[in-house]
């Protein structure tokens, strides 16, 4: 895009936003504030009135224009994304965008992009969050087994006190200004992910209810129908259900109850995802692959029939039977499933890898890849044939739950088709200090520049990494990209990268870029030259990451950093590399770890590890730990946390790069 095109694009998007906003504004001014509209505006209003009000931007009386803007953004989003709607915490995500962009429409566009990536966090099914918890537990197990064991002894290994960290990407854990900085770094660590054509600002456009007595007929796109009816009706349905009202009287509200059913089994869904038979889930994937949108409903009913379990849509009453026994099982299974983190993670990895791809092709690819062993393990005891019922292998409850997971996964996959958000557009896409390409590349390039000055050895090493990627590997990466991000992504990448052919694999598969640990000494802020306010107090031991005020870091400092941490991974001997390969394979790859946001995992692990000594020395139990971290809200030292997290992240990335190229690498040695 040229500068002018970009300006026009932004203007167009802003206008689009204004139209979306005016639709519901008009409905309100007509006085038809009922149902979904009333519910949404009510929820949003409650929360914007208490979101970051201490910040000057939102301070003052409740009629602060910025508060109103935040309200408009969230309401517009909720009404035009009925499947996601509004959920507490979204205001926390939108708030820094509005502060940064200082323009309602621009902030809305950013928010849409951000939510493309994060909306699954807010799904009632809890799948995305469960996966993040699983990964966090795995990460902690990997980096601090002693502390993890401590947590397990205190039955705190579910890490639920980290819920807000994961949901809001740590936004609340730091003071507001620190949060901005942390988010800048965090979101910059994500691979660039521009939308295929242009960013969609709505999922299902909000239409003011003309008359509530005209439900859409069944034959319309089931996708649309479900979406329109979930968010608000789910809540209503849940209320009905948990108020122990006889369910049979609600036959006519099938889809609403379907929503409720999904909600009730949120935990089951997440549980079943990690616990259930891979055959089922994989089968679902194949279904999903075969059918895009139109066939999904049919197929899922088909699957249901085979499992002879009730579909809420067809038998609305039955799924809502919520007995304490079932609940107890859920609880137990849930906890059991958490302990099976390893298994579930590998399964999840598979699922993540396969999303949006062509299943058959993918299976072949996977069979050839390093994931093959785990896939085969999962496959062998199961039947993977598409239509073969596996229900007989499961007990009733599980079967029941599996179906839930199928449905939810469908939803999830649909969302994922839209996901792949572009971090750059979430935070300051038109800000001048960000180069015309992605943040990532910008910062990486900057790393390279400074690297050349400060440490020739490192840059040499990096070059060797880059050159060691053979054509074959490039192809493989491209294929992987295709599977993960879809064909269009790859094509787009190809186009945009055609001028930089040599570095292509480096660029496209951004995660594979071998950030060396020493690079991390420089925060992006420092590279950008905006890092000025941090005094030396933050630099003390700081897990071996001295902070210079600005400019290139002296090799001396870098050396100190390495020795201070004295980790064997820092060196580049062949042995160490081989060891890295072994250890790194324990953690999911970067495009999956933490739901595709590995740096968030390292931020969380950092927070946990920075407090582990204190926690262990005070022999804190589960509740005390939760309270301890609660007290730490907005008090964490952002520099310390970022530095330590970045160091771990860099090591992790390097290990994965090495693992990915291990063949070539070992030969090189």
């Amino acid at each position: 895009m040229t500068g002018k095109e970009r300006m026009d694009y932004i203007k167009k998007k802003a206008l689009e936003y204004t139209n979306l906003r005016e639709t519901w504004k008009a409905a309100i001014s007509k006085g038809s504030v009922t149902g979904e509209l009333a519910y949404t505006t009510g929820m949003v209003r409650k929360d914007v009135l208490r979101t970051d009000r201490h910040h000057p931007f939102y301070a003052g009386s409740d009629d602060n224009q910025n508060v109103a803007s935040l309200f408009n953004i969230l309401t517009t989003y909720a009404l035009n994304h009925p499947k996601v709607s509004y959920c507490q915490g979204m205001s926390d995500l939108a708030s820094p965008l509005l502060v940064t962009m200082n323009d309602e429409a621009h902030a809305y566009v950013c928010f849409c992009a951000l939510m493309n990536r994060l909306c699954t966090n807010f799904m009632i099914d809890g799948i995305a969050m469960t996966q993040k918890f699983t990964h966090l537990a795995e990460g902690l197990m990997h980096y601090d087994p002693e502390f993890y064991n401590y947590l397990r002894m205190h039955e705190a290994d579910d890490l639920l006190f980290c819920y807000r960290w994961l949901l809001l990407e740590m936004k609340r854990e730091f003071a507001f200004e620190d949060s901005l900085r942390m988010l800048e770094v965090l979101w910059s660590s994500l691979p660039a992910d521009p939308p295929d054509k242009e960013l969609r600002l709505f999922d299902v456009p909000f239409k003011p209810p003309p008359s509530p007595s005209t439900p859409p007929p069944l034959c319309t796109s089931p996708h649309m129908r479900t979406q329109r009816e979930t968010a608000y009706t789910k809540i209503c349905a849940l209320r009905r259900q948990s108020s122990s009202i006889s369910l049979n009287s609600y036959q006519q509200r099938k889809s609403a109850e379907q929503g409720a059913w999904r909600q009730i089994h949120s935990l089951d869904d997440s549980m079943s995802k990690s616990k259930t038979l891979p055959g089922i889930t994989l089968k679902h994937l194949s279904l999903d692959d075969a059918a895009l949108n139109e066939n999904k409903e049919d197929k899922s009913s088909h699957a249901h029939d085979q499992q002879s379990r009730p579909v809420p849509k067809h038998k609305p009453g039955s799924p809502l039977e919520k007995t304490p026994e079932i609940q107890n099982n859920r609880v137990n299974l849930f906890h059991a499933s958490r302990r099976n983190g390893r298994l579930s993670a590998s399964l999840t990895n598979l699922l993540k890898t396969t999303k949006g791809g062509h299943f058959k092709e993918l299976r072949e690819r996977i069979a050839a890849s390093k994931l093959s062993s785990s896939l085969n393990q999962l496959d062998t005891p199961q039947t993977i044939e598409e239509e073969k019922p596996t229900g007989k292998k499961i007990k009733n409850l599980n079967e029941f739950l599996n179906f839930g997971s199928i449905r939810v996964r469908q939803e999830e996959d649909k969302i994922r088709n839209n996901i792949r958000s572009n971090t750059r557009s979430t935070l300051g896409s038109d800000r001048s200090r960000i180069s015309s390409n992605s943040d990532d590349r910008f910062s990486l390039n900057s790393y390279d520049d400074t690297l050349d000055e400060s440490s020739p050895e490192d840059s040499q090493d990096q070059t060797s990494f880059a050159t060691s990627i053979t054509n074959e590997l490039k192809l493989e990466l491209e294929n992987l990209d295709r599977k993960v991000f879809g064909d269009k992504y790859v094509e787009k990448e190809k186009l945009s990268r055609s001028a930089e052919m040599n570095n292509r694999s480096d660029e496209v598969f951004l995660w594979e870029n071998p950030l060396l640990p020493k690079d991390t000494i420089k925060t992006p802020d420092e590279v950008f030259g905006t890092f000025t306010k941090e005094p030396s107090k933050d630099t003390r031991e700081d897990v071996g990451l001295p902070i210079s005020n600005s400019g290139p870091v002296l090799p001396n400092n870098a050396l100190t950093a390495v020795t201070a941490t004295s980790t064997s991974h820092m060196t580049n001997s062949c042995e160490e590399v081989t060891e890295s390969i072994k250890t790194s394979t324990h953690l999911p790859p970067p495009n999956e770890f933490g739901g595709g946001n590995p740096f968030l995992m390292f931020l969380c692990i950092t927070l946990l590890m920075q407090h582990r000594d204190h926690i262990i020395s005070k022999a804190m139990d589960y509740n005390e730990m939760a309270m301890h971290f609660d007290k730490m809200v907005r008090k964490h030292n952002v520099v310390r946390v970022l530095n330590q997290a970045r160091q771990m992240y860099a090591r992790y990335i390097k290990q994965h790069t090495v693992a990915h190229q291990k063949g070539n690498r070992i030969e090189d040695c």
Binding site: M43, K46, D47, L49, R50, T51, D52, R53, H54, C87, Q88, G89, S91, D92, F122, I124, G126, D158, L160, F161, Y163, R164, L167, L168, R172, K234, I235, L238, R239, S242, S243, S244, Q263, S266, L267, S270, K322, P324, Q327, N328, R330, V331, F334, N623, A626, M627, D630
Partner: protein
């Protein structure tokens, strides 16, 4: 029980979003009120030491998120609770209507040993605000229908009845703990406590 000096009571606060759960907890623990609390994500926690019947107890208050979408977290947060505090906003009828589902949700998720005897306390908050939508009588009727749940009308903003309410909560929690820890010892007390604390509740206790 006398041999144990410190007792830990776990109390869960439930209710729709924005009814004042966080405010009540902070008013009680810190004697502070601000209308700038953030929406609770997951759960917040505070502890307070207090003396109940000459015993020092530590009350651990779990302030949960009000929005339905966080309910799946309940399992973890509710476990081991000694008392469940239900809160509604006396000016917002919907928050009153939700009480049933919150109570059911808790009983299902926490699955206490004797669900019918598990202590709940109901707080009608924001009595400082007008107009009033839920009358004391209506709230009391609901309490009666649920095995005589104690009811308090509170204002977290003005600190009205907050201390009394939490004292009742503590007593009920303690009674619950005693009844489960050593069933033989304190069981009669549980009933007595439930009765005696009602007058202390000031306005609007049930019955």
């Amino acid at each position: 029980m006398a041999s144990r000096k410190k007792t830990l009571l776990k109390v869960i606060i439930l209710g729709d979003s924005s009814v004042g759960k966080t405010s009540l907890m902070n008013q009680y623990v810190n004697r502070k009120f601000t209308n700038q609390y953030k929406a609770t994500i997951g759960a917040d926690f505070l502890t307070k030491e207090l003396t109940v019947d000459d015993r020092t107890v530590t009350m651990q208050i779990w302030d949960t998120a009000g929005q339905e979408r966080f309910q799946s977290l309940g399992v973890a947060f509710y476990r081991g609770a000694d008392c469940c505090v239900l809160v509604f906003d006396v000016t917002a009828p919907n928050t009153f209507k939700s009480l049933d589902s919150w109570r059911d949700e808790f009983l299902i998720q926490a699955s206490p040993r004797e669900p019918e005897n598990f202590p709940f306390v109901l707080l009608g908050n924001k009595v400082d605000l007008e107009p009033r939508a839920i009358s004391s009588k209506r709230a009391q009727q609901w309490c009666q229908s649920k095995n005589n749940i104690p009811y308090f009308e509170t204002s977290a903003k003005e600190g009205l009845n907050v201390e009394q309410a939490f004292m009742a909560i503590a007593k009920n929690a303690l009674a619950q703990q005693n009844s489960t820890v050593d069933l033989y010892n304190e069981f009669p007390d549980q009933i007595k406590l439930t009765n005696t604390q009602k007058p202390s509740g000031g306005s609007g206790c049930c019955q």
